[in-house]
Structure formats: structure tokens, C-alpha cells
């Protein structure tokens, strides 16, 4: 876990502007900007999935999902 005592790292100015703009928005508006919906192949094709362990889930992602979705481990 990251410690709160670390010395601050510089925040890129464009990111800082985005953080400050987000902080000025009320939460419902932040939600409207943040949540998007696009179809994800395979992942969105079943109404329910359950995995016994996280390792099972990670393995399923690597074996069954298209690589470009980014769910594979590095």
C-alpha cells in the first residue's frame, strides 16, 4: 500500500486541470461523464458468470476474451 507520507510527485499540468475540473462538478454529473457503454465481445454475451477463484477468472479472461480488450495479464 502507498504511504501518505511520500513526497508529492509532479502532476502533469493537463491531468491537474482535469482533476480540478472534475472536483468542481457535482457527483451526478461526474457519473454522467464517466460511465459509458460499448459492446464487449464475449464478455457481454452471457447474463451471468461466476468464478470460484480470481485465478480462474483471470485465466478465463486470457483464454476466452479478445486480446485487444486488455483483460490479459502483462
Amino acid at each position: 500500500m502507498s504511504g501518505q507520507e511520500e513526497s508529492p510527485i509532479p502532476i502533469p499540468s493537463d491531468w491537474l486541470e482535469e482533476f480540478e475540473a472534475a472536483a468542481r462538478r457535482p457527483l451526478p454529473l461526474r457519473f454522467r461523464y464517466a460511465f459509458v457503454k460499448t459492446y464487449k465481445p464475449v464478455l457481454d454475451d452471457a447474463p451471468y458468470r461466476a468464478f470460484e477463484t480470481m485465478e480462474d477468472y483471470r485465466r478465463w479472461c486470457e483464454e476466452c476474451l479478445p486480446d485487444w480488450l486488455g483483460y490479459g495479464r502483462v
Partner: protein, 156 residues
């Protein structure tokens, strides 16, 4: 399925509170509640893996409109580590054992309340993304770590 809306987050908060469920928003949806400006698709809930809590969760999910079969309910109550729900009014991921967080109790102690939403501390969100080591998480981590520095200085 349309994008997840704020009123649906409120419905989760209120329904699970009525049933006394111990859970935390985690992942990017949790970070967004903390103020992180980014995009995501689903809400992720880190749920305490205790039989009574899982039973209360199932009741809350049914109240929210998730069409759980008795077999699916039993699976959730037995405590699978990860459950994806796309059989309700919105998509929801239930994580009972997120990578990088050893015990629910520790994350619960560090939680942040945002308008009544119980949210994982940003350090826990970052730790779980670091531990999962997925490409999509690794791409978002530098910006999330920068946001952490901003958030620690400005959080109220």
C-alpha cells in the same frame, strides 16, 4: 443496455443499506466516486465474504431487479470469488477476493464515505489494480497515481 447512471448507484446504495450488506465500491467506479475523471463501463463491488452478508446481498440484488436463479443465488451465497451480473437493470461485478487486498476488514477500516457511498480508499483501489497486472489497468495506473497525490492534498 444503457450506461450506468447515478440514480442506479443510489439504488444500489439504498437497497444494500436496507439489507445491511457490507460492501465497498472498488475499481474505476470507486475511483470515479472519489473524483477521478475517467471513463468506465460497469460498477464493481467488493463484498465481504461472509455467509450472512452474501445472503443479504442476494436479497438486495433481487430487490434491485436482478433475475437470479436459485442456483445462481446459491453460488453467490457459497462465496465465489468473482461474479459478473448482466441479468439486471445494469451490469454489476461482484468481487469477493480482489487481488492486492488481503482482508475485507482492512479495506472497510480504510473506506471513504462519499455521499453515503462506501468506497475503497484510493490506496486499496491502486493496490488491487497493481496486483491484477492487467494491460488495461497498467495503462490507467500512472494517471490514477497522479490523481492520488491530488486527492490526498485536496480531499475534504
Amino acid at each position: 443496455m444503457a450506461a450506468f447512471e447515478y440514480r442506479q448507484a443510489e439504488e444500489i446504495r439504498d437497497a444494500l443499506a436496507r439489507h445491511g450488506v457490507r460492501y465497498l465500491f472498488i475499481g474505476k467506479s470507486g475511483a470515479i466516486l472519489l473524483g477521478f475523471p475517467d471513463t468506465t463501463q460497469d460498477a464493481d463491488l467488493f463484498v465481504e465474504k461472509e455467509p450472512a452478508n452474501a445472503r443479504a446481498l442476494v436479497e438486495g440484488l433481487r430487490e434491485l431487479g436482478f433475475a437470479l436463479t436459485s442456483e445462481q443465488s446459491a453460488e453467490i451465497e457459497r462465496g465465489k470469488d468473482f461474479v459478473q451480473l448482466k441479468n439486471g437493470p445494469f451490469d454489476l461485478d461482484l468481487v469477493f477476493a480482489p487481488d492486492g487486498i488481503e482482508r475485507f476488514a482492512d479495506a472497510w477500516r480504510r473506506r471513504v464515505d462519499v455521499d453515503g457511498f462506501p468506497v475503497c480508499h484510493l490506496d486499496d483501489i491502486i493496490a488491487s489494480k497493481e496486483a491484477s497486472n492487467r494491460r488495461k489497468d497498467n495503462e490507467s495506473l500512472p494517471r490514477l497515481r497522479s490523481f492520488r497525490h491530488y486527492w490526498l492534498r485536496h480531499r475534504r
